[in-house]
Protein backbone atom coordinates (compact mmCIF):
# COMPACT_ATOMS: atom_id res chain seq x y z
CA UNK A 1 0.00 0.00 0.00
CA UNK A 2 2.24 2.82 -1.22
CA UNK A 3 -0.30 5.51 -0.29
CA UNK A 4 -0.29 4.40 3.34
CA UNK A 5 3.49 4.56 3.41
CA UNK A 6 3.39 8.13 2.11
CA UNK A 7 0.75 8.97 4.66
CA UNK A 8 2.85 7.48 7.44
CA UNK A 9 5.74 9.77 6.47
CA UNK A 10 3.32 12.71 6.35
CA UNK A 11 1.96 11.81 9.77
CA UNK A 12 5.41 11.46 11.32
CA UNK A 13 6.21 14.95 10.03
CA UNK A 14 3.16 16.55 11.58
CA UNK A 15 2.17 14.40 14.55
CA UNK A 16 4.12 16.40 17.15
CA UNK A 17 2.62 19.67 15.94
CA UNK A 18 -0.94 18.32 15.95
CA UNK A 19 -0.55 16.57 19.29
CA UNK A 20 1.03 19.63 20.90
CA UNK A 21 -1.75 21.89 19.67
CA UNK A 22 -4.45 19.52 20.91
CA UNK A 23 -2.63 19.01 24.21
CA UNK A 24 -2.39 22.74 24.83
CA UNK A 25 -6.06 23.26 24.06
CA UNK A 26 -7.31 20.30 26.08
CA UNK A 27 -4.67 20.10 28.81
CA UNK A 28 -4.90 16.33 28.80
CA UNK A 29 -2.55 14.03 26.85
CA UNK A 30 -5.01 11.13 26.51
CA UNK A 31 -7.73 13.34 25.08
CA UNK A 32 -5.14 15.12 22.91
CA UNK A 33 -4.05 11.77 21.53
CA UNK A 34 -7.64 10.81 20.68
CA UNK A 35 -8.22 14.12 18.94
CA UNK A 36 -4.92 13.85 17.04
CA UNK A 37 -5.95 10.42 15.82
CA UNK A 38 -9.24 11.80 14.49
CA UNK A 39 -7.39 14.68 12.83
CA UNK A 40 -5.14 12.28 10.92
CA UNK A 41 -8.05 10.04 9.95
CA UNK A 42 -9.74 13.11 8.46
CA UNK A 43 -6.48 14.12 6.82
CA UNK A 44 -6.22 10.71 5.17
CA UNK A 45 -9.61 11.21 3.51
CA UNK A 46 -8.22 14.35 1.87
CA UNK A 47 -4.64 13.21 1.54
CA UNK A 48 -4.62 13.68 -2.24
CA UNK A 49 -5.27 17.41 -1.79
CA UNK A 50 -3.21 17.88 1.37
CA UNK A 51 -0.05 16.00 0.49
CA UNK A 52 1.48 18.81 -1.55
CA UNK A 53 -0.45 21.72 -0.09
CA UNK A 54 1.66 24.51 1.42
CA UNK A 55 -1.11 25.24 3.93
CA UNK A 56 -1.33 21.73 5.30
CA UNK A 57 -0.03 22.78 8.73
CA UNK A 58 -2.75 25.40 9.05
CA UNK A 59 -5.40 22.94 7.90
CA UNK A 60 -4.32 20.35 10.46
CA UNK A 61 -4.28 22.95 13.25
CA UNK A 62 -7.72 24.24 12.27
CA UNK A 63 -9.23 20.76 12.26
CA UNK A 64 -7.54 20.01 15.59
CA UNK A 65 -8.91 23.26 17.04
CA UNK A 66 -12.45 22.51 15.89
CA UNK A 67 -12.32 18.99 17.27
CA UNK A 68 -10.87 20.18 20.58
CA UNK A 69 -13.54 22.87 20.99
CA UNK A 70 -16.25 20.33 20.16
CA UNK A 71 -14.72 17.97 22.67
CA UNK A 72 -14.57 20.62 25.38
CA UNK A 73 -18.13 21.72 24.74
CA UNK A 74 -19.52 18.22 24.52
CA UNK A 75 -17.75 16.52 27.36
CA UNK A 76 -17.12 19.27 29.88
CA UNK A 77 -20.38 21.08 30.56
CA UNK A 78 -20.11 24.03 28.23
CA UNK A 79 -21.91 26.48 30.46
CA UNK A 80 -19.24 26.06 33.09
CA UNK A 81 -16.37 26.63 30.68
CA UNK A 82 -17.45 29.66 28.77
CA UNK A 83 -20.19 31.09 30.94
CA UNK A 84 -20.09 34.75 31.81
CA UNK A 85 -20.75 33.68 35.40
CA UNK A 86 -17.40 32.04 36.11
CA UNK A 87 -15.04 34.19 38.12
CA UNK A 88 -11.87 32.96 36.42
CA UNK A 89 -9.90 33.30 39.64
CA UNK A 90 -9.72 29.62 40.25
CA UNK A 91 -6.60 28.75 38.33
CA UNK A 92 -4.87 27.47 41.43
CA UNK A 93 -7.90 25.46 42.49
CA UNK A 94 -7.98 23.35 39.39
CA UNK A 95 -7.35 19.77 40.36
CA UNK A 96 -5.12 18.08 37.80
CA UNK A 97 -6.29 14.77 36.47
CA UNK A 98 -4.03 12.20 38.18
CA UNK A 99 -4.03 10.11 35.02
CA UNK A 100 -3.00 13.08 32.94
CA UNK A 101 0.69 13.42 33.55
CA UNK A 102 2.28 15.85 31.13
CA UNK A 103 4.47 14.21 28.53
CA UNK A 104 8.12 15.14 28.24
CA UNK A 105 8.42 18.63 26.74
CA UNK A 106 10.30 17.97 23.56
CA UNK A 107 14.03 17.78 23.34
CA UNK A 108 14.73 20.92 25.34
CA UNK A 109 14.87 20.05 29.01
CA UNK A 110 14.68 23.66 30.10
CA UNK A 111 13.04 23.98 33.51
CA UNK A 112 11.37 27.26 32.73
CA UNK A 113 9.77 25.89 29.59
CA UNK A 114 8.57 22.82 31.42
CA UNK A 115 7.17 25.01 34.16
CA UNK A 116 5.43 27.31 31.71
CA UNK A 117 3.93 24.37 29.82
CA UNK A 118 2.67 22.91 33.10
CA UNK A 119 1.31 26.27 34.24
CA UNK A 120 -0.51 26.66 30.92
CA UNK A 121 -1.97 23.19 31.30
CA UNK A 122 -3.23 23.98 34.78
CA UNK A 123 -5.06 27.13 33.74
CA UNK A 124 -8.85 26.84 33.64
CA UNK A 125 -10.14 25.99 30.17
CA UNK A 126 -11.77 29.42 29.89
CA UNK A 127 -8.33 31.06 30.17
CA UNK A 128 -6.13 28.46 28.48
CA UNK A 129 -8.19 28.05 25.32
CA UNK A 130 -8.21 31.74 24.28
CA UNK A 131 -4.52 32.10 25.16
CA UNK A 132 -3.61 29.12 22.98
CA UNK A 133 -5.79 30.29 20.12
CA UNK A 134 -4.27 33.77 20.32
CA UNK A 135 -0.61 32.89 20.73
CA UNK A 136 -0.35 29.65 18.78
CA UNK A 137 -2.99 30.11 16.11
CA UNK A 138 -2.73 33.90 15.78
CA UNK A 139 -6.47 34.48 16.19
CA UNK A 140 -7.63 37.94 17.22
CA UNK A 141 -9.80 38.49 20.30
CA UNK A 142 -12.81 39.02 18.02
CA UNK A 143 -12.19 35.76 16.19
CA UNK A 144 -11.76 33.90 19.48
CA UNK A 145 -14.96 35.44 20.85
CA UNK A 146 -16.84 34.31 17.74
CA UNK A 147 -15.27 30.86 17.98
CA UNK A 148 -16.19 30.40 21.64
CA UNK A 149 -19.50 32.21 21.37
CA UNK A 150 -18.66 34.64 24.19
CA UNK A 151 -18.15 38.40 24.34
CA UNK A 152 -14.87 40.04 23.30
CA UNK A 153 -14.65 41.57 26.78
CA UNK A 154 -14.83 38.13 28.37
CA UNK A 155 -12.05 36.87 26.09
CA UNK A 156 -9.81 39.83 26.97
CA UNK A 157 -10.48 39.45 30.69
CA UNK A 158 -9.82 35.70 30.63
CA UNK A 159 -6.63 36.11 28.61
CA UNK A 160 -5.40 38.82 30.96
CA UNK A 161 -6.09 36.64 34.00
CA UNK A 162 -4.37 33.73 32.31
CA UNK A 163 -1.29 35.84 31.56
CA UNK A 164 -1.19 37.09 35.13
CA UNK A 165 -1.36 33.52 36.41
CA UNK A 166 1.46 32.45 34.08
CA UNK A 167 3.61 35.38 35.16
CA UNK A 168 2.96 34.56 38.81
CA UNK A 169 4.15 31.01 38.21
CA UNK A 170 7.27 32.20 36.42
CA UNK A 171 8.10 34.75 39.11
CA UNK A 172 7.54 32.18 41.84
CA UNK A 173 9.94 29.88 40.04
CA UNK A 174 12.58 32.60 39.73
CA UNK A 175 12.21 33.46 43.41
CA UNK A 176 12.55 29.78 44.30
CA UNK A 177 15.70 29.44 42.20
CA UNK A 178 17.22 32.55 43.80
CA UNK A 179 16.51 31.34 47.31
CA UNK A 180 17.90 27.90 46.43
CA UNK A 181 21.09 29.57 45.14
CA UNK A 182 21.38 31.67 48.31
CA UNK A 183 20.83 28.63 50.50
CA UNK A 184 23.42 26.71 48.49
CA UNK A 185 25.90 29.58 48.82
Amino acid sequence: MPELEQFETFMLNYQNMVFTHAFRLLGNPAEASDVSQTVFLKAYERFAELADSPTVGGWLKRVATNLCLNHLQRYRARWRLFSEMTTGDDEDDRQPDPAAEAPSPGTLGDDEKRLLEEALRRLPDSQRVPLVLHHFEDLSCEQIAAELNVSVGKVKTDMHRGRLALRRKLLRNEAGELSALRTGA
Binding site: F19, T20, F23, S36, S104, H160
Partner: protein, 158 residues
Protein backbone atom coordinates in the same frame (compact mmCIF):
# COMPACT_ATOMS: atom_id res chain seq x y z
CA UNK B 1 -5.49 51.83 29.26
CA UNK B 2 -8.05 49.20 30.23
CA UNK B 3 -7.37 47.05 33.30
CA UNK B 4 -7.37 44.03 30.97
CA UNK B 5 -4.58 45.44 28.83
CA UNK B 6 -0.94 45.28 29.74
CA UNK B 7 1.19 45.35 26.57
CA UNK B 8 4.38 44.50 28.46
CA UNK B 9 2.82 41.45 30.08
CA UNK B 10 1.28 40.45 26.76
CA UNK B 11 4.64 40.74 24.99
CA UNK B 12 6.42 38.82 27.75
CA UNK B 13 3.97 35.94 27.71
CA UNK B 14 3.84 35.89 23.91
CA UNK B 15 7.62 35.61 23.78
CA UNK B 16 7.77 32.91 26.41
CA UNK B 17 4.98 30.88 24.80
CA UNK B 18 6.53 31.20 21.35
CA UNK B 19 9.72 29.68 22.70
CA UNK B 20 7.96 26.56 23.92
CA UNK B 21 9.01 23.47 21.98
CA UNK B 22 6.53 20.98 20.56
CA UNK B 23 5.55 18.07 22.75
CA UNK B 24 6.48 14.63 21.55
CA UNK B 25 3.44 12.74 20.36
CA UNK B 26 2.87 9.32 21.95
CA UNK B 27 4.52 6.52 20.03
CA UNK B 28 1.18 4.76 19.77
CA UNK B 29 -0.45 7.62 17.82
CA UNK B 30 0.90 6.81 14.36
CA UNK B 31 0.51 3.07 14.81
CA UNK B 32 -3.11 3.32 15.94
CA UNK B 33 -4.00 5.62 13.03
CA UNK B 34 -2.34 3.27 10.56
CA UNK B 35 -4.03 0.24 12.14
CA UNK B 36 -7.43 1.92 11.77
CA UNK B 37 -6.70 2.80 8.14
CA UNK B 38 -5.50 -0.73 7.36
CA UNK B 39 -8.63 -2.20 8.95
CA UNK B 40 -10.78 0.13 6.83
CA UNK B 41 -8.92 -0.82 3.67
CA UNK B 42 -9.13 -4.51 4.48
CA UNK B 43 -12.92 -4.37 4.72
CA UNK B 44 -14.61 -5.64 1.51
CA UNK B 45 -16.08 -2.89 -0.67
CA UNK B 46 -19.66 -3.94 0.01
CA UNK B 47 -19.19 -3.39 3.74
CA UNK B 48 -18.13 0.21 3.29
CA UNK B 49 -20.50 3.13 2.74
CA UNK B 50 -21.82 3.51 -0.83
CA UNK B 51 -19.72 6.67 -1.30
CA UNK B 52 -16.53 4.65 -0.74
CA UNK B 53 -17.35 1.99 -3.30
CA UNK B 54 -15.19 1.92 -6.45
CA UNK B 55 -16.50 4.45 -8.98
CA UNK B 56 -17.41 1.78 -11.54
CA UNK B 57 -19.50 -0.09 -8.95
CA UNK B 58 -21.22 3.12 -7.87
CA UNK B 59 -22.22 3.89 -11.48
CA UNK B 60 -23.28 0.31 -12.05
CA UNK B 61 -25.38 0.17 -8.87
CA UNK B 62 -27.05 3.52 -9.63
CA UNK B 63 -27.84 2.34 -13.18
CA UNK B 64 -29.18 -0.96 -11.91
CA UNK B 65 -31.41 0.76 -9.35
CA UNK B 66 -32.79 3.04 -12.06
CA UNK B 67 -33.39 0.12 -14.41
CA UNK B 68 -35.18 -1.93 -11.74
CA UNK B 69 -37.47 0.92 -10.71
CA UNK B 70 -38.30 1.69 -14.37
CA UNK B 71 -39.03 -1.97 -15.04
CA UNK B 72 -41.30 -2.22 -11.98
CA UNK B 73 -43.28 0.87 -13.00
CA UNK B 74 -43.59 -0.28 -16.61
CA UNK B 75 -44.71 -3.76 -15.47
CA UNK B 76 -47.31 -2.31 -13.14
CA UNK B 77 -48.73 -0.08 -15.86
CA UNK B 78 -48.70 -2.83 -18.48
CA UNK B 79 -50.27 -5.64 -16.46
CA UNK B 80 -52.80 -3.55 -14.54
CA UNK B 81 -54.28 -1.19 -17.13
CA UNK B 82 -56.97 -0.16 -14.66
CA UNK B 83 -54.36 0.98 -12.10
CA UNK B 84 -54.97 4.63 -12.94
CA UNK B 85 -58.70 4.18 -12.52
CA UNK B 86 -58.18 2.50 -9.14
CA UNK B 87 -55.90 5.30 -8.06
CA UNK B 88 -58.61 7.82 -8.99
CA UNK B 89 -61.25 5.96 -6.97
CA UNK B 90 -58.98 5.86 -3.91
CA UNK B 91 -58.30 9.55 -4.34
CA UNK B 92 -62.03 10.20 -4.65
CA UNK B 93 -62.82 8.39 -1.38
CA UNK B 94 -60.01 10.35 0.29
CA UNK B 95 -61.41 13.57 -1.16
CA UNK B 96 -64.86 12.81 0.29
CA UNK B 97 -63.40 12.32 3.74
CA UNK B 98 -61.28 15.42 3.35
CA UNK B 99 -64.28 17.45 2.14
CA UNK B 100 -66.26 16.48 5.27
CA UNK B 101 -63.42 17.55 7.50
CA UNK B 102 -62.90 20.78 5.57
CA UNK B 103 -66.60 21.67 5.86
CA UNK B 104 -66.52 21.12 9.61
CA UNK B 105 -63.36 23.23 9.95
CA UNK B 106 -64.83 26.04 7.82
CA UNK B 107 -67.99 26.10 9.96
CA UNK B 108 -66.00 26.19 13.21
CA UNK B 109 -63.71 28.96 12.01
CA UNK B 110 -66.71 30.99 10.79
CA UNK B 111 -68.33 30.72 14.22
CA UNK B 112 -65.07 31.68 15.94
CA UNK B 113 -64.70 34.69 13.67
CA UNK B 114 -68.28 35.78 14.37
CA UNK B 115 -67.64 35.49 18.10
CA UNK B 116 -64.35 37.40 17.89
CA UNK B 117 -66.06 40.20 15.94
CA UNK B 118 -68.27 40.87 18.96
CA UNK B 119 -65.21 41.34 21.24
CA UNK B 120 -63.77 44.91 21.30
CA UNK B 121 -60.33 45.21 19.71
CA UNK B 122 -58.88 46.95 22.77
CA UNK B 123 -59.89 43.96 24.90
CA UNK B 124 -58.12 41.60 22.51
CA UNK B 125 -54.89 43.66 22.66
CA UNK B 126 -55.13 43.77 26.45
CA UNK B 127 -55.55 39.99 26.60
CA UNK B 128 -52.52 39.49 24.33
CA UNK B 129 -50.55 41.89 26.56
CA UNK B 130 -51.50 39.99 29.72
CA UNK B 131 -50.51 36.66 28.17
CA UNK B 132 -47.15 38.10 27.03
CA UNK B 133 -46.54 39.61 30.48
CA UNK B 134 -47.27 36.28 32.17
CA UNK B 135 -44.90 34.52 29.77
CA UNK B 136 -42.10 37.03 30.43
CA UNK B 137 -42.75 36.81 34.18
CA UNK B 138 -42.32 33.04 34.02
CA UNK B 139 -39.00 33.44 32.17
CA UNK B 140 -37.87 36.10 34.65
CA UNK B 141 -38.77 34.06 37.69
CA UNK B 142 -37.10 30.99 36.22
CA UNK B 143 -33.90 32.90 35.42
CA UNK B 144 -33.83 34.50 38.87
CA UNK B 145 -34.32 31.10 40.48
CA UNK B 146 -31.47 29.54 38.49
CA UNK B 147 -29.11 32.47 39.15
CA UNK B 148 -29.74 32.77 42.87
CA UNK B 149 -30.37 29.20 43.91
CA UNK B 150 -28.20 27.18 41.54
CA UNK B 151 -25.35 29.29 40.13
CA UNK B 152 -24.72 31.17 43.39
CA UNK B 153 -24.27 27.86 45.26
CA UNK B 154 -21.88 26.57 42.58
CA UNK B 155 -19.86 29.81 42.69
CA UNK B 156 -19.60 29.55 46.46
CA UNK B 157 -18.40 25.96 46.18
CA UNK B 158 -15.70 26.75 43.58
Amino acid sequence: MSENQDPELEELIARKLRDLPDQIAPASLASSVLATLRARQAAPWWRRSWFQWPASLRFASAGLAFAISTLLLWTAWSYWPDAAARYDSVAQSGTTWLATWRNWFNGASLQARTYLDTVPTSFLFAAIGVVAACYLMCIGLGTAFVRYFIFSKQTLRS
